[in-house]
Symmetry: C2
Subunit: 194 residues, 2 copies
């Protein structure tokens, strides 16, 4: 049945004349580098911050203005999370860093987003010891080696992420889903009372 | 052929067990109110601002911290824009306003997003004299009357939007598309040199 559904999907895509959607699953080069997901802006948006300290990508902002971070997750993983409060194997997150400006066009206050500064991707892979792997693509790298497991992301995410290595506490709609489904970590629940 | 494609789409959706996707087209009550699009967070994300003054929704922020605005557009309209640099009839934009916080969990600086403050929707409707109509849903209204055409959105958007009533100058990826496709307004192009 699954094969049949996939065939029908292919027909629908061909019939509508839409661009062929890229797979939601991580794709690797022959030497194990993650191929940059070029369609991450069509994944589901989770939230943004401005000037947050959120992983090594924050250091890529060399402009004076604070940087925005925009977080996206693969569509199938998002649907799975709405139903279960948990991330399935092969979930991918993209963290996009953008420069900000205050003055431009009709805007004279606050901040809006401008140039891309970098993209980082987090992949859930249950075949690996740490379950999650991180990759940094900068502005344009077509593929990236895994960030070494000595980096702080591999200790901070599992310790501080409200759900399974991910900062669901900063994604307001998903935080409520996780609360209803009972998937918030004990550490996060303990920290809420403080 | 179009009917055939639609039938196949329905089969695929049924076969995968995914929730039935809501239509991308605006839906109205019998007395002409726009029905709140409850799935707008699964549309394509365009950009966010913090503390920008962008339409009457900005006034809904009664907290001390500046508000974020997140902008989404219907998926079919997004694909059309990538191909043409223009918005098709029935395009819908959602502007979501969220409160911000600086201190919470591991975050001690900058701003991240918290509670929903309101949602506004802009619809392209070529059957109406002004071509575009605006609706304000607040936090939870299931439907909304059109915002009266005396509101400033009806004069500011066509005068200041870089492409056809929309603030493409604040959506960095689409701004480059519009430049390549030659769909930026003459007024916007003139303002760039200043």
């Amino acid at each position: 049945m699954k094969r049949f559904v996939l065939l029908l999907s292919a027909i629908v895509v061909a019939g509508t004349g839409q661009p062929k959607p890229e797979s939601d699953a991580p794709q690797y080069t022959s030497d194990g580098e993650l191929i940059r997901p070029t369609n991450y802006r069509e994944w589901v948006y989770l939230s943004s911050g401005l000037g947050m300290t959120y992983g090594p990508a924050a250091a890529q902002n060399t402009t004076r203005e604070p940087a925005f971070d925009n977080v996206f997750v693969t569509r199938a993983a998002y649907r799975h999370f709405l139903e279960t409060g948990a991330w399935p194997d092969k979930t991918m997150f993209a963290l996009e860093i953008r420069a900000s400006r205050s003055h431009g066009s009709i805007n004279n206050g606050g901040h809006y987003q401008t140039d891309l500064l970098g993209v980082e991707v987090e992949v859930k892979d249950e075949s690996r010891p740490a379950k999650w792997a991180f990759y940094g693509f900068g502005k344009s790298a077509p593929a990236a080696k895994q960030i070494p497991t000595t980096a702080t992301c591999y200790t901070c995410h599992p310790a501080q992420g409200a759900v399974d290595n991910t900062f669901v506490q900063f994604y307001p709609e998903l935080l409520e889903v996780a609360r209803r489904k009972g998937t918030l970590t004990a550490a996060y629940l303990a920290s809420e009372g403080k």
